[in-house]
């Protein structure tokens, strides 16, 4: 983050310097209301989560201090290990797959001067604004035993492939994951289109003169040019994948068995259904740390490569 607090000083007039150098409490007064709400409803609960995570508590009776026990449980508890494994799979479906598709799609659309591009942009971004609950209802209908997907398969003679997609141990996770891909791909594509629009046309023409084909052009010009956009797209979609709650709550409730459960769903289930409040807090804290680390890593990698 290029935070340069001194930047504005150099441009200020001579008479304003002392005022800007903050002997006064004015800036703090402007920040105070926001900081108060933010501290009370974000920072304090976050600290309380860390505290709670060190206890075993059912939400009613006295809590027992267990130290890092709830954290070591994350590694030991099979259901929790599975939840974090599913989160990793969701990173593939929400982030990696859409970025792959988006890169190719945006590259193709950038090379070609298609007229319908603004309309297309508005359209593919649409899943991003529809509430996830609504998205879930729509996809649940598609995946239903007599839903669109199965009728489609039947109509082309692939009756053998039909199944109850969300109730199937092997297929429920990819089925839910693909809903995430559906939501993310538009966002990623729009981001990458914006990045690619900034590439000077001469670069493509020069590459053409050098005899580069579409594939060479893709790897030599397009991908390096949108590194910043890829970083942003990956950050946004990975964070979204790790926060997936409503989709799971609405479609599978983590089932069948625990085949689609994710950390965020386990936070909810443990804190409000099975009375394992400390464990829930520990999962929430772990999730936050993971989000931080991944965000940091994605940004580091892209900076080093640039």
């Amino acid at each position: 983050m290029p935070a340069s607090p001194k930047a504005s000083d150099t441009t200020g007039g001579p008479g304003t310097r002392s005022a800007r150098h903050g002997r006064t409490i004015t800036p703090y007064l402007f920040i105070a209301p926001a900081l108060a709400v933010y501290t009370a409803f974000m920072l304090y609960p976050l600290a309380r989560s860390v505290h709670l995570s060190l206890f075993e508590w059912d939400g009613l009776s006295l809590a027992t201090f267990v130290g890092v026990g709830n954290y070591t449980d994350i590694l030991a508890d099979e259901r929790l290990r599975a939840a974090f494994g599913h989160a990793a799979a969701f990173i593939f479906f929400y982030a990696l797959l859409p970025c792959g598709i988006g890169l190719v799609l945006a590259a193709v659309l950038t090379r070609a001067k298609v007229r319908a591009l603004p309309l297309f942009r508005v359209l593919v971004f649409l899943p991003q604004v529809i509430a996830m609950v609504v998205v879930s209802v729509a996809w649940k209908q598609i995946y239903a035993p007599d839903g669109l997907l199965n009728s489609g398969l039947r109509s082309i003679g692939l009756e053998a492939l039909t199944r109850s997609w969300l109730g199937d141990y092997a297929f429920a996770l990819p089925a839910v994951g693909l809903v995430g891909s559906w939501v993310s791909t538009g966002l990623v594509t729009v981001l990458l289109l914006a990045g690619m629009a900034k590439i000077p046309t001469e670069l493509f023409e020069a590459a053409r003169l050098d005899g580069a084909g579409a594939i060479r052009e893709f790897f030599a010009i397009i991908v390096p040019a949108v590194r910043a956009e890829v970083t942003v797209a990956l950050t946004l979609t990975i964070v979204a994948s790790l926060k997936t709650f409503d989709l799971i709550y609405m479609t599978t409730s983590g089932g069948p068995g625990s085949s689609t459960t994710v950390p965020s769903y386990e936070v909810y289930r443990r804190a409000f259904e099975t009375g394992q409040v400390g464990s829930a807090a520990a999962i929430g804290v772990t999730l936050t740390v993971i989000i931080f680390l991944i965000t940091l890593a994605v940004n580091r990698i892209s900076e080093r490569g640039a």
Binding site: Y38, S49, A138, Q141, F245, M250
Partner: protein
């Protein structure tokens, strides 16, 4: 750049194919929503706009939409005012601890609701605040303020200091400069922020789910979740309800799509 005919055809094919993938779930839920709700209705033709009215009444969406509007009003108006104030300080003034404080706000953009929801529920329950507007709205104000401070700081930093200096020479106070000059000038940035905050608040699920355990203070997405629980068979009414819940944000999106996409991109690229 010259593009061959085959390549252009291929491009349009990709465009159309991809649009179809996006549209299929949207159109299928619309088709279901307008379809017959049961066998009796099926005998009266295939087009049933009355499903929306039935879903509205049976799912009590009048009440839930009212709640959602109230929550959105409180969250957006509070978060916008607080973000403008704090963004103004971060963007135009320099003071001790500025950087540390700013990073503290930045942290809030990344913290997921899952990390704060557990203590929030138990602590607010102790104060008897669960099932109230405040329990549902204030945590979302905190999240929105984290983003809004960041967003408004970027806007205030982009304003030419000479404008502020000129006003200062004329004797305008800091508050006066903000209200009479910077806020009117910043309408595009503020509009984008309002639209984004409204979308996030309207679509939020986990916070209202947890903060209103009795269901007394249920927002529209929650209403839809519980409606789904009741209607395992009647997909037409469920689909109609889903369309109703999505409609306010989708309409706003089509009206303001330029701002919406630009807003998402600018917020993203600066992040």
């Amino acid at each position: 750049m010259r593009v061959s005919g085959t390549e252009r055809t291929l491009n349009y094919a990709i465009l159309i194919g991809f649009s179809l993938i996006v549209l299929t779930p949207v159109l299928s839920i619309l088709a279901t929503a307008f379809g017959p709700a049961d066998a009796a209705a099926a005998r009266n033709g295939a087009f049933h706009p009355s499903n929306f009215a039935t879903a509205w009444v049976e799912g009590r969406f009048g009440q839930y939409m009212g709640t959602s509007v109230m929550v959105a009003l409180v969250v957006v108006s509070l978060a916008v005012v607080l973000s403008i104030l704090s963004g103004y300080a971060f963007g135009t003034m320099s003071f001790r601890g500025e950087q540390a404080l700013f990073y503290l706000f930045l942290l809030g953009i990344m913290v997921p609701s899952e990390a704060i929801i557990v203590p929030l529920f138990f602590d607010l329950r102790t104060f008897g605040l669960t099932d109230t507007l405040w329990a549902v709205a204030l945590p979302q104000v905190a999240q929105s303020v984290a983003f809004g401070t960041y967003w408004m700081r970027a806007y205030f930093k982009s304003v030419s200091p000479s404008i502020m200096d000129a006003a200062r020479v004329d004797g305008a106070s800091k508050a006066r400069i903000l209200v009479s000059i910077l806020v009117p000038m910043g309408r595009p940035a503020i509009t984008t922020m309002v639209v984004l905050m409204f979308m996030w608040t309207w679509n939020e699920f986990l916070i209202p789910l947890v903060m209103s355990p009795s269901g007394a203070f249920r927002t529209a997405p929650l209403g839809l979740a519980f409606f789904q629980g009741q209607y395992t068979q009647g997909t037409a009414l469920l689909a109609a309800a889903a369309v109703l819940v999505a409609l306010p944000v989708v309409l706003l999106y089509f009206l303001m799509q330029r701002h919406f996409i630009k807003g998402m991109l600018e917020g993203a690229v600066k992040e």
